[in-house]
């Protein structure tokens, strides 16, 4: 936590991190109400890693998972690692300019989805026996029946919801950054007004593409 941005008062940081963590938790509640097969439990992390820096994003992720442990069940604590690595990808990604325009933002979303899923798969396989208790389990069963190894099936199914989730998360984070007071967003350079209809088409296209590619790879590798 070395890089306290000079012009943001420390009390602001002390409050912004918990608010972002609470948004992470409540995001999960909103997608539940709206019946969506994504999680949106890392938007706050993304915003903080852009506004305050990657390591503050890591802290947000850890705080989020501590809160989830006390609100839902401590068995989800290992997923703090996923939230933390996401913060690093987004934070450093924005530093090297990957949040600047639409195509780069899309790229950042895809990269973060792959990194975060790579982090999540070992946890799912070793602690949860490959199960997530979510929508992705249906796809896991399909891939298993196609002859995939457990970890391949878990990765292939979870990357689908993760892609939708993380691409959506970075674009929502951009919209949220625009709504922040100027004092907080002077440091970040993000895309202007992402075209959300295009984002939706991109997500649907990428998810279907990856699902088919995974299926193809599994079938040919047998």
């Amino acid at each position: 936590m070395s890089e306290v941005p000079g012009r943001i008062p420390p009390t602001y940081i002390a409050v912004l991190v918990p608010v972002a963590a609470a948004i992470n938790v409540v995001g999960g509640y909103i997608v539940n109400v709206l019946h969506l097969p994504v999680f949106l439990d890392m938007i706050g992390t993304c915003v903080v890693s852009w506004v305050l820096g990657p390591w503050w994003g890591v802290l947000t992720g850890v705080v989020t998972n501590f809160a989830i442990a006390l609100l839902i069940n401590p068995v989800y604590l290992p997923f703090a690692a996923c939230n933390a690595i996401g913060a690093l990808v987004w934070g450093y990604g924005a530093r090297i300019g990957l949040a600047k325009d639409f195509p780069r933002l899309l790229f950042l979303g895809i990269v973060s989805a792959f990194v975060i899923t790579s982090m999540a798969v070992p946890i799912y396989v070793f602690v949860f026996g490959g199960a997530t208790g979510h929508f992705a389990d249906i796809m896991t069963a399909v891939y298993l029946q196609m002859g995939a190894q457990l970890w391949v099936a878990v990765f292939s199914s979870n990357i689908l919801s993760s892609l939708a989730d993380k691409i959506l998360a970075v674009f929502l984070a951009v919209l949220i950054i625009e709504a922040l007071p100027p004092m907080l967003r002077y440091k970040v350079e993000v895309a202007k007004q992402p075209r959300l209809r295009v984002v939706m088409y991109a997500i649907v296209g990428i998810v279907i593409g990856v699902a088919l590619a995974a299926g193809f790879v599994i079938l040919t590798a047998k």
Partner: protein, 293 residues
Amino acid sequence: MSTRATLYTPGQSFLHKLNPLTKMVILLALLVIIFPLMNPFILFALAGVAVLLAIAAGVFRDFVQGMSILIPAAFAMAFFQTFWPAIPPPHRPILSIGLLTAYHEGLYYGLVFAGRILAMGAFALLIVQVTHPVDLFVSLLKIGVPYMLGFMTLVTLQLVPILMREASTIIQAQQSRGMKARGLTAIIPSMIPLFASSMERVQQLAMSLEARAFGSSGKKTSLREMRMRGVDYAVVVVTVAATAAAVLYFNQHGWFNYLRTYTFPLSLAVALIALVTIGFVGMAAYFLARLAG
């Protein structure tokens, strides 16, 4: 969804009165035993012990609610392993349903996974239920966990129910303006107002912290004081000794791993496979139905 702050359920039981650090030691000891155990019967029995303790501590109702979240995952892991065991062959088949074949090793391994997550989840949930979050962080402070981490987590816990209420108000307000309450297009009109109002809250909270000299360098004190009492030390010693003995005992018996040798009686196997399959298919149908609307 409940708007209660945390899982903590007030009470006066023995478990409630233990120091949070003592409870962390107990939880760690249980993890050390539960994780390597390869016997579904022992694991489910341990989960049963957690249920009994929850009843004894008077937190059973919320305990059931908390555990219900783990049930779909438990069904899914048992289902995956039963039909596609993630262990090297040979696999001894039990029966075939259409394209799927269930195996003894798979059913055994699946039940190990389900039993393990249920046992770990049950004990962890129980400990969280009988520990006040503030007490937990005051105690963790003493063993070197940074103050900021505890402070931020506690603020988050305070904010979640507030933002939860706000989110449902926003969704209802948008619905009354004709927003379709499902699908990706509904995310933006729900999320953005929530964030905007949270930012207002950030400013208010920051000001009130400033007014209370949050940034001052003096020693922070807490309203609630935690002390290790004699009984805490006694419990820690007994826990550590019992865990060491249990590890030695289980290790001598190969952690009761009968994966390769255990053969389920046919009626039990059929009942378990039916339960697991119905559970998983039911979960899948539920998710698909929700997605379709």
